[in-house]
Amino acid sequence: MGLLNPIFFAWPSTILDSLYSIFTAPDFSRHLSVTMFEMIVGYSSAIMVAIPIGILMGRVKFIENLLDPYISALNSIPRIALMPLIILIFGIGLSSKMFLVFLGSFFPILINTFNGVKNIDPLMVDMAKSFGAKRFALTNKVLIPSTMPYLLAGLRIGLSIAFIMVIVGEFFASTHGVGYMIAFEAARYNTSGVLAWVLIVSGMTILFTEMIRYFERKKW
C-alpha cells in the first residue's frame, strides 16, 4: 500500500479512530457549539432581514428599482475576498464568523424571495379576489404558498454558502470551532483527523437541511 500516501489519504478505520478520540476529547462540545452558534445566529439574522426586504422589493416596484442595482453590485463581490477585512474589523471571536455567515446567506435568500414574490401569478390573485379574498386570506392562501418553492430554494442555497463561510472563516482566524479544528489537524498532517471533522461538518449540514426539508413538506 505504498501507492496511497498516508498524508493524503486515510483508511476508514483510522477515521473512525479519530472520530472516537474527537468525541471523547473534552473540548469537542466547545468547538461544535461555537460553530453551531455562529451558524445559527448568522443564518437566522440573514433570514430575518432578507425575507422582509425581498417581499418589499417584490411587491413595490419603486423599492425594487431603488435597491436592485446595489444588490447586483454587492452580490458580485466574492464574499471570501472580504474575509480579511471583516476579521480585521470584528476580530477573531465569534462575531466575525457570524457576520460572514450573514453576508453569505443574505443574498441568495433575498434574491430568491424577491423573485418568488415577483413571479406570483396575477391571475391567481385575481381569482382569489373574485371569490372574495381580502388582504389576510390573500397572503395566507395564495401569496405564501406560491412563494414557498422560491423561498425554500433560497434558504437551501443560503445554507450551503453559510457553511462555506463559517468553515473558511474559522480556517482563517479563530480560536475554536469545527473549521479551526480542520485547519489545526491539517497543519499536523493528521489526515484522518481532518476527514473525521469533515464528516462532522456533513452531519451538521444534513441536520440543517433536514430542518428546511421539514418546512418543504409541511407547506405543501
Binding site: M124, M127, K129, G132, A133, P145
Partner: protein, 278 residues
C-alpha cells in the same frame, strides 16, 4: 323551430325592443374601459358598451380575440374598474367582487398546491372556515363528474378535468350569476363538446344567469338564449340575436338546417364587422 329577431344595440339606444318584461338583472350603460399603456399609448378596450342581461338567461358574448370580451367579464366580476359608464346588478352599482357572482377562467387558475377538493373548497372557505363546507365541496365535485378525483393535484388532471374543477369551485359558492371567460377555449374539440353538454345539463338544474364569452360561433349558438356580438376593439355590442332553438339542447341540433342557417347569419355579421371597422 328556429325564429330569430334581431335587435340592434348601437350608440345611444339602451332599451330592448321586443323584450318588454322588466326582468333585467345586469345593466351595462355607456361602459368604457381604457388601459393606460407604457409609452403614452392608451388602449381603449371598451367604448360606450350598452347591454342588458336578464335573470336566468344564458347569454353568450361573441367576438374575435382582443375585442374586449375578457375585459367586459372582468368589469362584471368587479376586478376591473370602468373608466366611464357603469354596471349595475339588481340596481346596485358594481364596485368590486361579490358573492352574487363567480368567475370561471379560461386558464382555470387552480392553486397547484391544492388537490381538487382543496381547490373546490377555496371559495367556500373564504366565507366559512369551518368543516361544514366539506360536504358541499364534495357534492359539487360529484356534480361535475369528478368523483374519485378529489385528492388529485391539478397537474395530475387533464385540461378538461381542470376546467371541471374550476366550474365546481364557481358553482359551490352558490352565485346568482356565473361569469365564464372562454372556459373551453383551451380544450380539444371533443372535450369541448362534452363539457358544453355537461354545462348545459348542470345549468338546466338550476338555471342561473350565465354570461359566457367565446369566439366560437357554434358554441355561442349551441349554448345560449341570446348572443351579444361584439365589435373588434374598441369593443361595443354590435347586435344581439335571440336563439330560439328548443331546450334542452342536444349535440345533434348542431347539424340541423336551422342551426346552420343561424350560423351563417352570425358569420356574416362578424365578417361585416371586420370589413367595416378595419
Amino acid at each position: 323551430m328556429l325564429h330569430y329577431d334581431e335587435e340592434t344595440h348601437g350608440r345611444g339606444s339602451g332599451q330592448s325592443l321586443s323584450r318588454p318584461n322588466k326582468n333585467k338583472l345586469i345593466t351595462a350603460k355607456n361602459l368604457g374601459v381604457i388601459f393606460s399603456g407604457n409609452s403614452n399609448s392608451d388602449t381603449i378596450a371598451l367604448e360606450d358598451l350598452n347591454l342588458e342581461i336578464e335573470k336566468r338567461e344564458f347569454l353568450c358574448i361573441l367576438g374575435p380575440s382582443g375585442c374586449g370580451k375578457s375585459t367586459f367579464i372582468r368589469v362584471l366580476a368587479g376586478l376591473t374598474k370602468p373608466s366611464s359608464g357603469q354596471v349595475t346588478i339588481n340596481g346596485k352599482k358594481v364596485t368590486g367582487p361579490g358573492s352574487d357572482r363567480a368567475l370561471v377562467f379560461q386558464e382555470n387558475v387552480l392553486l397547484p398546491w391544492r388537490t381538487t377538493f382543496g381547490n373546490v373548497k377555496f371559495g367556500l372557505e373564504l366565507k366559512d372556515p369551518s368543516n361544514q363546507i366539506n360536504k358541499r365541496a364534495l357534492q359539487f365535485i360529484e356534480l361535475v363528474g369528478l368523483r374519485g378525483f378529489e385528492h388529485y393535484y391539478p397537474d395530475e388532471l387533464s385540461g378538461g378535468m381542470r376546467q371541471r374543477v374550476g366550474l365546481a369551485r364557481a358553482l359551490a359558492v352558490g352565485p346568482e350569476i356565473l361569469l365564464m371567460d372562454e372556459p373551453f377555449g383551451a380544450l380539444d374539440a371533443q372535450t369541448r363538446a362534452i363539457l358544453q353538454d355537461e354545462l348545459l345539463k348542470i345549468w338546466e338544474m338550476q338555471r342561473k344567469t350565465v354570461i359566457f364569452s367565446t369566439h366560437s360561433i357554434e358554441e355561442a349558438i349551441y349554448l345560449s338564449d341570446r348572443i351579444a356580438v361584439m365589435t373588434p376593439r374598441p369593443g361595443r355590442i354590435k347586435k344581439i340575436l335571440n336563439v330560439d332553438l328548443c331546450r334542452p339542447r342536444e349535440y345533434v341540433q348542431k347539424m340541423t338546417p336551422e342551426f346552420t342557417k343561424l350560423r351563417r347569419h352570425v358569420w356574416k355579421l362578424i365578417k361585416e364587422n371586420r370589413w367595416i371597422e378595419h
